[in-house]
Symmetry: C2
Subunit: 204 residues, 2 copies
């Protein structure tokens, strides 16, 4: 409980209409949708407010700037990045990787990643949250999964884990952001079976 909430409950609540907390989510959702559809530059604050069914004043009452709103939209909206804690050991690296793709997780956020790219170059705050949300967490997850497979004895012993851990994130981001192609299930499975696994597995 924050001190502000305590003040509301214990001390007399201030008069006047109370803030509609559901608007926070509506605004952040609108921001994410527009980020995915039009990118950071195309996501105007007027459009965000309009899609959320709110006025701009309501948006700026909650966030001081477009950047701060964007940071919250990305961090709160796309959720805490997946970690190895969320993925029970299936006993095989292939099944572990499939679980990452096909498990019951948040929807594909490559569109948001793509839409954020333009803002990353010129905004350190955005760059920081982008890196944490879309780069570091994914490489770390891959590295942890590979490490687990290594302990199970699945991997050859000369694998460069740090390098290999970035192969899948790189190929997925490249296909979406740089090459501008769809990242569908076919592509992911084919990448896993024809690139990642042949690269690390002991069996031949």
């Amino acid at each position: 409980m924050t001190s502000a909430q305590a003040a509301d409950d214990v001390v007399a609540r201030r008069a006047g209409r109370r803030r509609d907390d559901s608007k926070d989510d509506a605004i952040l959702l609108a921001a994410r949708e527009l980020l995915a559809e039009r990118g950071f530059d195309g996501m105007t604050m007027d459009a965000v407010a309009a899609r959320a069914g709110a006025g701009k004043a309501t948006v700026y009452r909650r966030w001081a700037s477009k950047v701060e709103m964007t940071v919250d939209a990305v961090t709160c909206g796309t959720g805490v990045p997946l970690t190895i804690e969320d993925l029970p050991d299936t006993g095989s690296l292939r099944d572990d990787l499939m679980a990452v793709r096909f498990g019951r997780h948040r929807p594909d956020d490559t569109e948001i990643m793509s839409g954020l790219m333009s803002a990353v170059r010129e905004n350190p705050e955005v760059a920081s949250v982008f890196h944490a949300q879309f780069v570091r967490s994914r490489i770390t997850l891959m590295r942890d999964l590979l490490e687990r497979a290594r302990l199970r004895g699945e991997l050859r012993d000369d694998v460069d884990l740090d390098m290999v851990a970035s192969v899948a994130p790189a190929m997925i981001a490249y296909r979406k952001v740089v090459a501008g192609q769809r990242v569908d299930d076919d592509f992911v499975v084919r990448m896993i079976d024809n690139v990642i696994l042949p690269l690390v597995l002991d069996v031949r």
Copy 2:
């Protein structure tokens, strides 16, 4: 000889000061530098003109818009993409790949690739030249080199050439554009030796 040049030589040359063709190169060079330093949005036409030692009118006398100038800056400036014709068969895939990186070619243009990214999303013309210059040509080159290695008998026979051909371009673009890290010689060599070659080579 173009008809315009013929007209200049045969028919009477029009009166007045002649266009300084060297300005074209100066402007395109300034555009590339600013594209690399500040990205497409940060590259203002005023800055391009100023760096080229020209007036904006001079720029707009040659190109109708910022986009058209950018397209020319990228296509003319970074040169014709490398093809397998430019790379004599060294007899080994590793040496072929090293020749791509360390051969006597144009300077590293990952900065320009990175700077163009923001414009790709919202401009089909830029997207087209970007794709030709930085995506298609590189994947094709990789694929041709792999094919050549396959004919030499270097490769395992179950290699997914189309998929593998995009691994190196993906990892380099990812590291630079998405992860925001330097693409130095160490990284490239390590990628070749610990990812690309283990993935395709027959020897084990």
